[in-house]
């Protein structure tokens, strides 16, 4: 700890929730913070939360958060002594860590050598095997060997060679082809038999080369229905290295973890001790300091194998924090300042169970396609044991530039059952308006019996169709939500009324059909008809009366209503013509159908009409001709003045109805230009 100054100001080279998370701890420790931000993030909550902020002009990660030089310049400009890289971006970039050290900046992370050692999966496996950590047998296929990179004649031979190596290493089919660098499932293939090997290797190489800049892949024994177990370790560079229990992250979609927990329901005390020993051995093998994670794959028979080591803070670190009561960012900062691990770390104990869900802006039904938009409202209620690490707030714009994760919601409870229930409830009651999210899927998984029983593996979401699990609320919920939206609209209009706001809404002395409001919700049309009667409001949805309806209170933002004997408060949030409705039954997005739709066009689209009576002086185009917007089409002469009728838009002239010298009335159709679809 000699010569390492205390950190007075920390630059956070991350964005979103993790930047906010780091800033929170820094401020708790009295450390000033500097954020760096790209153009799209200028209004992001983490920028506002930091004491100071430095712009990284541009939007793409390569132009902003991946620019080590710009970030170091920002540190110098702001006088920060240390850089916390968060996760992603530069967090596992050994060169950046080195550059920081050279520039006199503390890199809050492990030594560059440890990053480097773990950067290649193949090398990492070798190091681990040497340290006695169990690894899966594998065969390396360097970039350029095998697959399509070999000439057509050599292809069969190359494949045969690889297959022979496979045989020698004792890897049976099915097997896995993986990229040596990178992760996230890219460059990964399951190979069923020798016939598919050549193509799988070639495909994986192509993907790896384009995604990670290195086409090296390796074959590995395939573990069927594996569970993803990882162990949090922390070291201090003074010889202390300890584990902080395992996490399980088996529920994944497309190799992306979505639900994580600690401890794992699949790990008993004996296995826990073995995992911990292996993880600590792994850390020691690379001289690890700071917070890191050793990932294992757990086979159904209880055997486990080293997968990779992440030399940074993990997304899912909060579950460890909740069960140990530690602040891992504080530990990272203490280690970075050169302090030995404090006693509460080395003697940490696990209390209860914690579960984390990653809330993504994505469309589950559309194959997890990332969603964008403005988050009009982001409210996740507290409740016992609930922690929210969010990167967004009301008004945040979610762009396509970065990871679509909006927030992590983490629940702690005395048991796994309680933690899952707390988390499901917090997510179900959350109000996330403006962007499509995977919330319904998360809630459904947390309440699904197999998950509840702890029967999970990385194939969980292949067995359970996410589109079905995360289906939007059913018809009854939609009816309730549409009713609430309609009644909130009524309350809103009455509140704004300048004429007799105190008389019953929609009052009639001759009974009428009631007030109609139509919505579209997820492609479905819902029509609500409501009428205030002497015995209260009567509502029908899609022509069906809502049974046993009592409206206790109707305000523009909340409806308190009993339907079918159950009383609920339904929240309604109006943005433009869209109502975001949340209730105990779920959430709906309802877009109100315009009461007065735009009238049908008076003339066929693209028709050019004579603006006044006159004589056609000239026809400037001929049928079939392609014209640009503003091109003269017909010239009319009237009262010695020439009027040029121009194309209203670009397109093809489909019709010319007049000829030079012809007299036309006002409104006569001269020609038609059909607009070409954009």
């Amino acid at each position: 700890m000699t010569g390492v100054p205390a950190i007075g100001k920390l630059l956070v080279a991350a964005r979103g929730e993790i930047a906010l998370r780091i800033i929170r701890t820094a401020h708790e420790l009295g450390i000033a913070t500097v954020a760096v931000f790209s153009d799209p993030d200028a209004g992001a909550p983490f920028v506002a939360a930091a004491d100071e902020a430095v712009a990284l002009p541009g939007a793409a990660p390569a132009a902003t958060y991946l620019r080590g030089d710009a970030i170091m310049a920002a540190a110098h400009a702001s006088g920060a002594q240390a850089v916390h890289p968060g996760y992603g971006f530069l967090s596992e970039n050994a060169a950046f860590a080195r550059d920081c050290a050279q520039a006199g900046l503390i890199f809050v992370g492990p030594p560059p050598e440890a990053i480097e050692a773990m950067g290649s999966k193949i090398r990492a496996k070798q190091v681990m095997a040497a340290a006695g950590v169990p690894v899966l047998p594998s065969v390396t296929v360097p970039a350029g060997a095998g697959g399509l990179a070999v000439g057509a004649g050599g292809l069969a031979a190359a494949t045969a060679a690889i297959d022979a190596q496979r045989e020698g290493a004792g890897i049976a089919y099915p097997l896995l082809v993986k990229a040596a660098f990178g992760g996230g499932g890219r460059g990964m293939r399951i190979v069923a038999g020798p016939g598919d090997l050549a193509e799988a290797v070639a495909g994986a190489q192509r993907e790896a080369a384009s995604a990670f800049g290195d086409g090296t892949v390796f074959l590995e024994r395939y573990v069927d229905r594996p569970r993803h177990i990882e162990v949090q370790i922390v070291g201090d560079g003074h010889g202390n290295l300890t584990h902080l229990c395992e996490r399980e992250c088996s529920v994944q979609r497309r190799y992306q973890k979505i639900i994580e927990e600690a401890p794992s329901p699949a790990v008993d005390d004996r296995l826990r001790a073995e995992l911990a020993a292996a993880a600590v051995a792994a850390g020691r093998a690379v001289g690890y300091a700071g917070a890191g994670t050793v990932e294992f794959v757990l086979d159904t028979d209880g055997s486990f194998y080293f997968l990779e080591m992440n030399t940074r803070l993990q997304v899912e670190h909060p579950v460890t924090e909740l069960v140990t009561g530690l602040d891992l960012v504080a530990v990272q900062l203490a280690v970075a300042e050169g302090h030995p691990l404090p006693a509460e770390v080395t003697s940490a104990r696990v209390t209860g169970h914690a579960v984390e869900a990653r809330l993504y802006a994505e469309d589950v039904g559309a194959g997890f396609q990332p969603a964008t938009g403005t988050v009009h409202r982001f409210t996740i209620g507290g409740g016992p044991g609930i922690r929210v690490d969010a990167g967004v707030a009301d008004g945040t714009v979610v762009t396509a530039h970065y990871d679509p994760m909006l927030a992590k919601v983490i629940a702690h409870g005395p048991t796994r059952e309680v933690a899952c229930r707390r988390l499901a409830r917090a997510l179900a009651r959350a109000q996330v308006h403006g962007v499509t999210t995977n919330r319904d899927l998360l809630v459904a998984v947390l309440r699904e019996p197999e998950f509840r029983a702890g029967v999970i593996d990385t194939g969980y979401l292949e067995r359970h169709d996410p589109a079905k699990l995360g289906a939007p609320p059913d018809g009854d919920a939609l009816a309730l939500h549409a009713t609430a939206a309609a009644l909130a609209g009524q309350a809103r209009r009455r509140a704004a009324s300048t004429v007799l706001p105190g008389i019953p809404p929609g009052w009639r002395n001759v009974p009428g059909d009631g007030q109609m409001t139509a919505y579209t919700s997820a492609g479905q049309e819902v029509e609500v008809c409501y009428r205030a009667g002497r015995s209260g409001v009567r509502v029908s949805v899609g022509g069906e009366p809502l049974p046993g309806l009592t409206v206790h209170r109707a305000a523009p933002d909340e409806i308190d209503v009993t339907v079918g004997g159950v009383r609920r408060r339904v929240s309604v949030h109006r943005v433009g013509a869209v109502d975001y409705v949340d209730s105990p039954l779920g959430a709906s997005v309802l877009t109100e159908v315009e009461r007065f739709p735009p009238p049908r066009p008076l003339a066929e689209p693209g028709s050019l009409l004579a603006p006044m009576p006159g004589t056609v002086a000239r026809v400037a185009v001929s049928p079939g001709e392609r014209v640009a917007a503003g091109t003269p089409v017909v010239v009319l002469e009237a009262m010695k003045m020439e009027h040029t009728v121009r194309a209203p838009h670009g397109g093809v002239v489909t019709e010319v109805g007049v000829h030079a010298g012809q007299a036309v009335d006002a409104g006569a159709r001269l020609a038609r230009v059909e607009q070409e679809p954009a």
Partner: protein, 549 residues
């Protein structure tokens, strides 16, 4: 949406003074139950008739109309009105009990369009093509009169085949008044709008012709003085009805249409926009008192309105269920106690109330009323007449006491008063009491009745009895024998006839009021009426001091 200058409940509403009325109504009494049951039965009959009015020409014609892609009159109105705003339909039972369809092929009422209280007049094309009969004419003219007196913009939703020709003798001459009144409204600065959805021919063509703003629906509006057959007869010309009076022609050539609408919804959308562009400001004072609900349940009005109009009731029990916070500041409480007078407010609008307590008006009541009406004029306070009167007292001592002179004071004061009057017949409106209590002939801004009420020169039995006495006297004078049996028969026939003709449905059918209302809606209807009345300036008559009568 336009913000009207007026009716916003002012943030600086004055604090409420005075003690709320206490109710001594026994809702467990047999009388209450009996009244309640009687009102319920009456309301059921009333609802049946309203449903008939709503049905218009019946499902067959409604379906045919819909099949043509057109909206019904009430559907057009619903779209035109502000969402969730009120609509007070006027004279819905016009023509009840006549050869014509209940409602008289016309829907009229007061509603809110783009934040502006307007009078709406919509033809019902499912009833004989929306043709006007003598009742439709009276209903139209009454709606226009309400618009003129209360300064309310008028929106005509036009689709009418013109006059019901078999009744032309009754409507042709007075019918000209419609166009006269539309013009007069415009002259008074009260905007008139015509949304033409269909036929508007011959005389009907002058509805858009006389309106300030016109919107014609493409391929539906047909506006011409003479249709193709008439033109053929008159000049031999073969005319095409689109060229003769279609929306396109009138928008592009004649200029009669100011706005060309692609379809009905478009026309309604344009109509709403026109109203929003009127820059309309109400000229009466906005509500100035707290508009809190009454302390007592308006539903109990059912048990107050008597099953038998001869049974008097305390109008304070009604006020306790109608006025803001049940607050009533009674004037001359111990003088002329057959008439209750005092100050209150309804939906924040201050009102002076005159309410009959025990039917008969004596000299004291008449003088008290005259003074009270003068006070209201001094204060520019609108007046509410709650009728339950059998008329001015008769008899030698009363005549000698000058009951005619005192009644005349009251009628004079009512006639001369210039604050808005709103009248409600709660039970009985007989004799000159009808005049003194601001009946139809005294031009109340709006006039409503509860369905159990009666209106006639006198009660049926009295009238038959008087006729019998007069007959007997005439027989005696001429020395002829008096046929008792024939007299009894005649007496019964007359009583039955008068009973029938004093029935509320009969009265409202003839436009002697602006509609029957459910007693429980009294507060709402009075609020709508008062708010509408405040569209015009509210100014009392001045010039003399208040006479001590």
């Amino acid at each position: 949406m336009t913000v009207t200058g007026g009716a916003q409940p002012s943030a600086s509403a004055r604090a409420a003074e005075g003690t709320p009325l206490r109710s001594s109504l026994d809702t467990g009494s047999a009388e209450y139950r009996a009244n309640f049951e009687a009102q319920l039965a009456l309301l059921r009959q009333h609802d049946e008739q309203l449903n008939l009015a709503r049905a218009g020409g019946g499902p067959r014609y409604a379906d045919r109309h819909h099949a043509r892609g057109r909206l019904l009159a009430r559907e057009r109105i619903e779209l035109l009105l502000d969402r969730d705003a009120h609509f007070l339909e006027l004279s819905p039972l016009a023509a009840w009990g006549t050869e014509f369809t209940v409602g008289a092929s016309l829907v009229t009422g007061i509603g809110v369009v783009s934040g502006v209280e307007c009078v709406l007049v919509a033809h019902d094309p499912t009833v004989r093509g929306g043709a006007a009969n003598p009742y439709s004419l009276r209903k139209s003219l009454r709606a226009l009169e309400i618009a003129r007196r209360n300064r309310l913009p008028v929106i005509n939703l036009v689709e009418s085949g013109g006059a019901d020709l078999p009744t032309q003798s009754e409507i042709f001459v007075p019918g000209g008044k419609i166009f006269h009144d539309l013009t007069e409204l415009s002259g008074l600065g009260i905007p008139t709008i015509a949304l033409v959805f269909g036929n508007s021919t011959a005389g009907g063509a002058y509805v858009p012709g006389m309106c300030d703003y016109t919107v014609f629906v493409d391929r539906q509006a047909k506006v011409f003085l003479g249709g193709p057959p008439l033109v053929k007869m008159a000049t031999g010309e073969d005319a095409d009805d689109e060229e003769l009076g279609g929306a396109r022609m009138h928008s592009q050539v004649s200029g009669l249409a100011d706005y060309f609408a692609a379809d009905e919804r478009d026309a309604i959308r344009i109509g709403r926009r026109i109203v929003s562009e009127l820059n309309w400001r109400k000229l009466g004072q906005p509500p100035s008192l707290p508009a809190d609900e009454p302390l007592h349940d308006p539903g109990e009005l059912f048990g107050i309105a008597p099953a038998d109009v001869r049974v008097p009731f305390d109008p304070r029990e009604v006020l306790a269920r109608v006025v803001d916070g049940s607050r009533f500041g009674e004037y001359k409480e111990s003088y002329g106690t057959s008439l209750v007078t005092g100050w209150a407010s309804v939906h924040g609008y201050p009102v002076g109330v005159l309410a009959n307590a025990r039917g008969v008006l004596f000299s004291e009541e008449s003088k008290k009323a005259a003074e009270f009406i003068m006070l209201a004029n001094q204060a520019d306070t609108p007046l509410l007449f709650l009728q339950n009167t059998t008329g001015y007292m008769v008899g030698t001592s009363y005549e000698q006491g000058g009951i005619i002179k005192d009644g005349a004071k009251m009628i004079n004061a009512v006639t001369g008063s210039t604050v808005p009057h709103i009248t409600l017949n709660m039970a009985a409106s007989f004799g000159a009491g009808n005049y003194g209590m601001c009946g139809r002939a005294y031009d109340p801004r709006l006039l409503f009745a509860w369905p159990g009420s009666k209106l006639a020169v006198m009660g049926a039995a009295q009238l038959a009895g008087v006729m019998s006495i007069v007959g007997r006297a005439a027989a005696q004078a001429s020395g002829k024998p008096f046929d008792e049996a024939a007299d009894e028969q005649r007496r019964q026939a007359i009583e039955a006839q008068i009973e029938r003709e004093s029935h509320a449905f009969f009265v409202t059918a003839r436009l002697y009021d602006d509609g029957l209302i459910d007693p429980r809606d009294t507060r709402t209807v009075l609020g709508i009426a008062l708010s509408a009345a405040h569209s015009a300036p509210v100014e009392g008559r001045r010039g003399y001091g208040v006479f001590r009568m």
